[in-house]
């Protein structure tokens, strides 16, 4: 059964009419037209659909809408002109770019709790995200560059 659900996405209150068990991913992509959150596996194993939920990186593909009511959701679009995005462009830290949104989200969550991460900490924070093109090292450099720039 569909219901009208209220979500806070990128700081804006939004209303969505959908079944409460609908994965957040489809509400973001199809109702709110926020296409930066990607479908990768549907079971939270690849990280392509990560969003920040109250500051923590979490998969939107297996998070139902009912579970995020009242929580602050930030998508890649919500990061806006973030230091991280600039650092990723500066480092040319992508090849196909499909996994990148989820990786920026994991990196933003990391920098939110640790402004001076070591390389090992950056890698550990990104271990839940899969990258198939082999852009890992460039991405790690980009996150370290962004952390440096924030200081």
């Amino acid at each position: 059964m569909t219901e009208t659900l209220r979500l806070s996405v990128n700081g804006i209150q939004r209303e969505i009419t959908a079944a409460p068990e609908t994965p957040l991913l489809y509400a973001l992509r199809n109702d709110l037209h926020l296409k930066g959150t990607r479908f990768g596996c549907g079971s939270g194993q690849c990280g392509a659909c990560f969003v920040l939920i109250d500051g923590h990186a979490a998969p939107a593909c297996d998070t139902p809408l009912w579970a995020v009511a009242g929580k602050a959701i930030t998508t890649i679009e919500g990061l806006g002109e973030h230091t991280l995005s600039r650092a990723f462009v500066d480092e040319q830290a992508a090849q196909c770019g499909f996994c990148t949104s989820g990786i920026l989200i994991s990196a933003a969550a990391l920098l939110g709790r640790n402004s001076k991460p070591t390389e090992t900490e950056v890698r550990a924070a990104l271990d839940r995200n899969l990258c198939r093109c082999g852009s890992h090292n460039r991405m790690v450099r980009a996150v370290l560059r962004a952390a440096q720039a924030e200081r």
């Binding site: 296409k35 990768g40 392509a48 770019g97 198939r132 093109c133 852009s135």
Partner: protein, 707 residues
Amino acid sequence: MSAVSTSRPMPPGSLAKSPRLSQWIRIEPEGTFCVFTGKVEIGQGILTALAQIAAEELGVSAGRVRMIAADTSVSPDEGVTSGSLSIQDSGTAIRRACAHARKLLIGRAATRLNVPVAGLHVEDGTVRSAGRSTTFWECADSTLFDCEVDENIALKSPGRYRIVGTPQARVDLPDKIAGRPRFIQDMVLPAMLHARVVRPSRGFTKLAGLDEGKLSLPGSAILVREGSFLGVLAEREETAIAAQRAVREGARWEDASPVPGDVHSWLKSHAVDHRIISEKADPTALERVGRTLSAAYAKPYIFHAPIGPSCAIAQVQGGKLLVWSHSQGIFNLRRDLALALGMHEDEVIVRHVEGSGCYGHNGADDAALDAALLARAAGGRPVRLQWMRDDEFAWAPCGPAMALELSASVDQAGKVVAWRHELWSNGHSSRPGRSEYPSLVAASHLPTPFPRPAAINMPLPAGAADRNAIPLYNFPNQRVVNHYVREMPVRTSALRSLGAYGNVFAIESFMDELAGVAETDPVAFRLRHLKDDRAQSVIEAVARQAAWAEWKPADGAGHGVAFAKYKNLGAYCAVVAEVEVGREVRVKRLVLAVDVGLIINPDGVRNQIEGGAIQSTSWTLKEQVKLDAHGIASLGWEDYPILTFSEVPAVEVELLDRPDLPAVGAGEAAQGPTAAAIANAVAHALGVRVRELPLTPERIISAIERQ
């Protein structure tokens, strides 16, 4: 050969098939050039590199060139974006087309200013003479480029390049990094329906039963059935997914033949064609035979495993079928779609839209036919068909398993006097457009099913299963045999580097084993057998860069070297791997030296080489498609682990610039040598050789136990 074919040399690159200048370039009044290519962006940065070539030859800034995404209705047909050929094929054609276009534009400007060409000063499209000026865009009209590309027009000499050879930021990355819609998965058309295809996760011959009366489909979802092809359409995406689940539960399928337990033994007993692809005999050298060594190597089935599963959009409009696809070959796809659907090719338009990285022939083309079949049931509304993760793993073609046997003899002086290499494999290409029947998955599930074409091998010198099977080393006696297996327990097709990955892994592992017999350093042993100075240079460069000679032994640590010239035609690549072997193999560092001839975009080449090396590390340490009697048993990432951020090694790339030599592709050069360098480093660390990929802890333990 006929007089016609000899009277005129073959035009370079893709000009042979698309000779008209207007097929390659158009000038826009606002001061830009639209450049057309049949090659597609698959995450490798090709559009950026082609734009560099165009801007260089036109003599304008890179920002004035707009690359047009491939579309069967407007673009030159350049076949498939594969084999690291885009720079050669498309780059060569674009370079010549742009040189011709510039000459025509300058000619027009001279007429307009009424001065000889020699008196003109041209900069970024503005043409000046004695205080007067005009621009390329003022001079051009729609007929100017309506001619054949003149191949005799002088090209800019590489010594004067200002854009080619400099690092250029990728044109597509700012959108992708910001999460702006750019992928086919993000496309939305008015009144678009969401669709899913319904197949079992295992191979089947046909749909055995589906009780449509008992099906309870959620919401507005509808079932589409054509023979054994099933799909669902819905207004909302989550409804389509729920409907897919419901139909899956209600459908019964007739199983395909079981998959053999030991694939490598099975391959060796099922070859139907045995071809000697290289043979050399020198009886004098054979008199020097000292020790002889034999070894068997194996590689498993490997997934392409794009992070974004395949997707396509299709719409039936005014008797035409429009398809948006992330296929690597939109013209070939159009041909197979027309065949499968009983349409004429000119009734089908395929447009390329970027997708997730593809790494070869994945599910993109198959998803396009799925979308087209569902669009025929959608009353003219566009249909977005998205494969789920298990659709991609279960149904996209895999990189083929290979069995390899090598033997060689070494003389007293430590030189190889005889070499034998035999390989057993399915074909490495079942791409669309190359067979009598469509190669798309759903074509064999239609009411009148098409037979599924067997994967084939393209001919040498590029080859497919036998790509890089002929060693570049100089051996006086040599025999290389390709045993082709037609029957496919698992659907196979082109995975990045094709047979080169398995062949180079085997050749370069075996070279180290022979160096051991000859009691020679592996770098010196390779150099001893090479005459090609570019090959020697990359090996010497990598040894220097990795400080090979200064290696300090440590417990559990090892280093290894390997080399290949991709396809024996393309890029030279040498790799040194440094590993630590404990409970599992950790690759700590990879150093690569690469020669791609003229470098178009140095950062693009680095990115491709780094990525290729890391992906190969993942294949080599972790990847194998799990099989059981019913077929593929890896249906999610939990059953198909790949390298994680913490496991990725440091990667250093040294580029050897050869501005006077032709530019060749970089995308597939690193795969084979990286695998062998890691295997050699593991053998160096353990004193035990693991000859079956991937190099998992289980394989290493069993190799130690066997010793």
